[in-house]
């Protein structure tokens, strides 16, 4: 599947900046355009306008009174830092890049800018955007709504080494497999395909199909057979093969939301959710 544009949602957090670097590399690899977007969360502004508004420090646990002006200042400063980081990275890696600031509901604003075939890059874990929005659901919703993919990353943002992809034969899975192939192609990295179907026979059939698809692309792959999608098992297998990137199909009947959620949370490396 051809990625035309990479949209990266940036705040100024360290994970977000690490993700920016890795995402820009992907954009360079695919010769895609890069759009940096900073969303000023309207909910936070509204909360700050409440007369008793105060926040609890996430480490100190201390109370702080906030007002909309505070929040706006925070937004401005974050947006400036995000813009400057994006420009520097894009220039260094020679990627065409633009930057936008939006205000509103984060999900809506992101959906608003996404077009078909876009890849959206989000931070996950901790206080990241994806974590705040709910990992699995957001990724699935956005990916589905935009007919694109969502890449979620923690502090390990760079896509290196082998890639694991979950394949169940549905449309989204075909696209996920194609995207995974794009991720390993040209890097001489291995592709691990986890074939999930209700029966053993069905998984073998899936493996044959997947192998054929992959063979066309000239990528080396290994198949594993699973009769149910269990998040810890998926993570463990991926770790066993030393993969650092996981590719999951969105809205696949074999991959419920909570499994996507758990994999996104527990897998240390980047997780890419691809819509069908």
């Amino acid at each position: 599947m051809r990625i035309r544009r990479v949209v990266v949602a940036i705040d100024a957090s360290p994970t977000s900046l690490a993700a920016l670097e890795a995402t820009t590399e992907l954009a360079a690899r695919w010769d895609a355009e890069l759009l940096g977007i900073f969303v000023e969360d309207a909910n936070l502004l509204r909360m700050a306008s409440l007369p008793f508004a105060r926040e609890v420090g996430s480490h100190s646990g201390a109370f702080r009174a906030v007002d909309p002006a505070d929040i706006k200042r925070q937004f401005r400063s974050q947006a400036d830092r995000a813009r400057s980081a994006l420009e520097k990275t894009a220039q260094r890696l020679s990627v065409r890049a633009s930057f936008e600031v939006a205000r509103g509901s984060v999900k809506d604003e992101l959906l608003g800018v996404l077009r078909e075939g876009d890849l959206l890059s989000l931070g996950k874990g901790g206080q990241s955007l994806a974590a705040r929005l709910g990992l699995g659901s957001t990724a699935r919703a956005i990916a589905t709504a935009a007919q694109g993919c969502v890449l979620m990353h923690s502090h390990v943002a760079r896509v290196t080494g082998p890639v694991t992809v979950v394949y169940d034969g549905h449309r989204a899975a075909d696209r996920a497999l194609a995207t995974a192939v794009e991720l390993v192609r040209g890097r001489e990295a291995r592709l691990i395909i986890m074939c999930i179907a209700a029966t053993r026979e069905a998984t073998q059939e899936l493996a044959r199909t997947a192998s054929a698809l992959v063979k066309e692309a000239g990528v080396e792959a290994r198949c594993r057979h699973l009769t149910a999608a269990d998040a810890p098992e998926l993570v463990q297998i991926a770790r066993f093969f030393g993969t650092n990137t996981m590719v999951l199909p969105a809205n696949s009947p074999m991959l419920p939301e909570q499994v996507v959620e758990a994999v996104a949370r527990d897998f240390a490396g980047p997780v890419l959710v691809v819509a069908g």
């Binding site: 609890v56 420090g57 906030v66």
Partner: protein, 806 residues
């Protein structure tokens, strides 16, 4: 007076008496020759081997101190046990005080190899343990459990808040609760439109949840601590299991060495405690990276801490060590601690401890040159401190002097059991004895090397074997017996004694090499007497430019020396000039003048401070002789002056006192002295002539001058009879004596010398108390009595109470 025949002038060694043709037939000398006193001292000290019984071997350079001492020490060392190997290992409790391990000889190198392997296998074991499925899973379980906890806590709060129409918002720096309206956060305006009661209610709810959230967040550090403890426990359990096998194996191997077993226990404890530091685990990739390099400025543990630094390896050693440290600096003696520069700072650890020669000599002997030792800054002090304290403590000089401020170590001191032999010149021994109060306590044994030895048949035999040994060691040509005889004669000449040989083997060793060279130049395979002679002549030739100049000036008359005729108050004295190692004789004209005076003999040399104390002493003795011998009952009423003519530098020694007396007596008696004879010898107050030094050089010096000015057949030298045994004259001088061209007269008394120089009889006082008529002594006595009479008359003329003034 009887002159000496040629046989008395030279001790000749007859080659025919040797029972060999060339030195190739002789066996190597085992042991030494001619130093029984020094050998006894070394053997005594090596045998007693108690604290303070260190040796100072004193002797002139080249007497063979080094080879003799090392020979005897090696002999003793063979019978002693091989000392243990010495290692330093990391001290896990006090990293700045590395621990000492002493192991049976040869085990040190084993342990070093085994611990290096151990470090390797620990690295693999730790990496394996941390990467194992078991560890990863159990670790993940702990991480997950603690990761879930705050989430669960907050999720619960969030759920309950949601039930009550509130939403939890996460901002970049924290979290907040807000009421919702139509699924959106309620704005301030909407909120204000609510009734006061409702506003109050919402605010109370929000504040309640905020406090709950705060409580949950404040628990996080303690959860983190719990998590940390659980992970540590897991680490410990896994690491203990992983490292037990390689360590058990080693413990078994070294079970007979409790020190090593204790060290291995400490290693195990440390590995378990520091496994995390040793394996820097990259959480995301699961890759384990083991720190292997030297520790950085943060002193992070690395695998090199489990190595063993083997300082002294006695594997394959037999007996106790005998070490000669030829550069005894502070560091070379007691060892040093090196530093490595890392990130701009100097750091070190026990692996950088370097052994000194005292470490290597421990349990045996160490030989040091006293002069070098004393010249190296602080080395002597350090050696004394080590000997006094009985332990060897490695401290950098900077540390000792409190001058350096880098991180350094204080390794556990090594118990020291070493016998030190200092080699040096006697003057150093006497200076140290006098000025260093510790010296006598620490160096109780002096091994005194003689500079010469008696030429007994036994010593000669040993000496010859020594020559053969030296020649072989240096890969020199064979020396035939004529060459050996010449070498022995030269050795006697060096010490100036027919009955002795020089113990300064260095001098003879040089001559051996040079004679070998000349034999080579002449293209022969066996060194003969002529080559030895060639070497001697070449040595002299290289050194005698000044002698030639002096003799040339005498021949030209610039320096006035008469070698024929007779003069009143003038005699040829003889002196020796030393230039470096080369000595030669030079005749000097000595003159004396007398006049009426009050009995003082003026030594002009002393008056102008050119004469040394011994010279002045000689002059005063002859004044004593003069008065007591000739005018015991009268005041000595003359004033005499004595001078070395044409002497422009200092004169010392009393060997010219006999000559001075002859000149003085000649001046008093106004009887001329033969200028064909030169005189050497000192005199005492009784007129006995005493031995002097440098007799050979003096005779040869006068002979050379006579030859230059023309040999008359009358010329010769008067020497003290007690110097006869010291004669080892040049062959040309001996030949001249044989043919009657030159004469050597030994005398015992001044009277004998006077008879030779004046041709007049002397004779002793008669029973009447007078000297017989017609004798030289009678003339002197008469002259002195005349002077006394004149002085009395002079005194009467000028008033009885007045002394005649000069």
């Amino acid at each position: 007076m009887k002159e000496l025949g040629p046989a008395a002038l030279y001790r000749r060694y007859d080659p025919e008496e040797f029972d060999f043709e060339t030195t190739a037939e002789l066996e190597d000398l085992t042991g030494t020759v001619g130093q029984p006193r020094a050998v006894a001292a070394v053997e005594f000290a090596a045998g007693i081997a108690r604290e303070g019984y260190n040796i100072f071997a004193l002797g002139a350079p080249g007497v063979g101190k080094h080879s003799l001492v090392s020979h005897y020490l090696e002999k003793h060392a063979e019978t002693r046990a091989v000392p243990p190997d010495v290692c330093y290992v990391h001290n896990f409790e006090e990293p700045d005080n590395p621990r000492l391990l002493q192991l049976p000889p040869g085990r040190g190198v084993d342990l070093r190899r085994d611990t290096a392997k151990l470090a390797e296998s620990l690295r693999a074991a730790l990496t394996g343990a941390f990467e194992s499925e078991e560890y990863q899973t159990r670790r993940q379980v702990i991480e997950d459990e603690f990761k879930e906890r705050p989430r669960e806590e907050l999720k619960d709060i969030e759920e309950r808040a949601k039930q009550e129409g509130l939403v939890l918002l996460r901002s970049p720096v924290g979290m907040a609760f807000a009421p919702t309206k139509d699924g959106e956060v309620m704005s301030g305006d909407d909120f204000r439109q609510l009734s006061e009661e409702e506003q109050k209610k919402i605010q109370t709810k929000v504040e309640g949840y905020q406090e709950e959230a705060q409580k949950a967040l404040r628990q996080m550090p303690s959860w983190d601590r719990d998590r940390h403890t659980r992970v540590r426990e897991l680490d410990r359990e896994v690491v203990e299991a992983a490292v037990a096998a390689p360590l058990d194996e080693l413990r078994q191997k070294y079970e007979s060495l409790p020190g090593v077993v204790a060290y291995l226990d400490a290693v195990q404890h440390d590995v378990v405690e520091r496994a995390r530091e040793l394996v820097e685990q990259d959480g995301a990739s699961g890759e384990a990276v083991v720190a292997v390099g030297p520790k950085g400025p943060d002193r992070k543990a690395s695998m090199s801490r489990y190595h063993v630094n083997l300082l002294v390896d006695n594997r394959g050693t037999t007996g106790a060590p005998v070490i000669y440290e030829d550069n005894p600096t502070y560091d070379n003696l007691i060892g040093r601690i090196e530093h490595v520069a890392q990130f701009g700072a100097l750091s070190t650890d026990f692996n950088h401890i370097k052994a000194g020669s005292l470490h290597r000599a421990n349990g045996g002997y160490i030989m040091l040159d006293a002069h070098k030792l004393l010249r190296a800054p602080y080395a002597w002090e350090a050696l004394k401190r080590a000997l006094q304290s009985g332990v060897l403590r490695i401290e950098s000089l900077g540390q000792t002097l409190s001058m350096m401020a880098v991180v350094s170590l204080e390794p556990e001191p090594l118990p020291l059991n070493v016998q030190v032999v200092l080699l040096g010149e006697p003057i150093l021994y006497y200076l140290l004895s006098q000025h260093d109060p510790d010296f006598e306590e620490l160096f109780k044994v002096a091994s005194d090397f003689a500079e010469l030895m008696d030429a007994t048949p036994e010593n000669v035999k040993g000496y010859v074997r020594l020559l053969a040994t030296l020649a072989r060691e240096d890969n020199l040509r064979r020396f035939d017996r004529s060459a050996v005889a010449r070498l022995l004669e030269y050795s006697s000449r060096v010490v100036g004694d027919q009955e002795r040989l020089t113990a300064r083997i260095g001098v003879i060793h040089d001559l051996l090499r040079e004679a070998d060279h000349w034999a080579g130049v002449n293209g022969v395979e066996v060194v003969k007497a002529q080559h030895v002679q060639q070497a001697i002549d070449a040595q002299i030739n290289r050194a005698d430019r000044v002698r030639e100049r002096v003799h040339e000036q005498i021949a030209l008359g610039t320096i006035m020396i008469d070698v024929a005729g007779a003069k009143v108050g003038q005699v040829n004295g003889l002196s020796v000039l030393m230039l470096g190692n080369f000595a030669f004789g030079r005749p000097s004209r000595l003159t004396a003048r007398v006049r009426l005076g009050q009995g003082n003999v003026v030594d002009i040399e002393r008056e102008v401070e050119l004469g040394g104390p011994l010279h002045s002493k000689g002059v005063l003795i002859l004044a004593g002789y003069l008065g007591a011998n000739y005018t015991p009952d009268q005041p000595l009423s003359l004033s005499a002056s004595i001078v070395f003519e044409q002497s422009y530098s200092g004169v010392d020694g009393d060997s010219a006192s006999a000559a001075e007396l002859f000149a003085l007596l000649s001046a008093i008696a106004e009887i001329p002295l033969k200028q064909s004879l030169a005189v050497t010898g000192s005199v005492n107050q009784h007129g006995e002539v005493q031995a002097i030094g440098g007799v050979n050089e003096k005779i040869e010096g006068f002979f050379d001058v006579c030859r230059a000015k023309g040999i008359t057949g009358e010329q010769g030298v008067i020497i003290p009879a007690s110097n006869i045994r010291h004669l080892m004259l040049r062959h040309d001088v001996v030949a001249a004596v044989s043919s009657g061209q030159f004469h050597i007269y030994p005398i015992e008394t001044i009277d004998q010398g006077l008879e030779l120089l004046t041709g007049m009889p002397t004779a002793a006082r008669q029973s009447s108390g007078e000297y017989p008529e017609g004798t030289f002594n009678r003339l002197v006595e008469t002259k002195l009595l005349e002077l006394a009479e004149k002085r009395r008359a002079f005194g009467m003329r000028n008033g009885a109470d007045k002394e005649p003034s000069d």
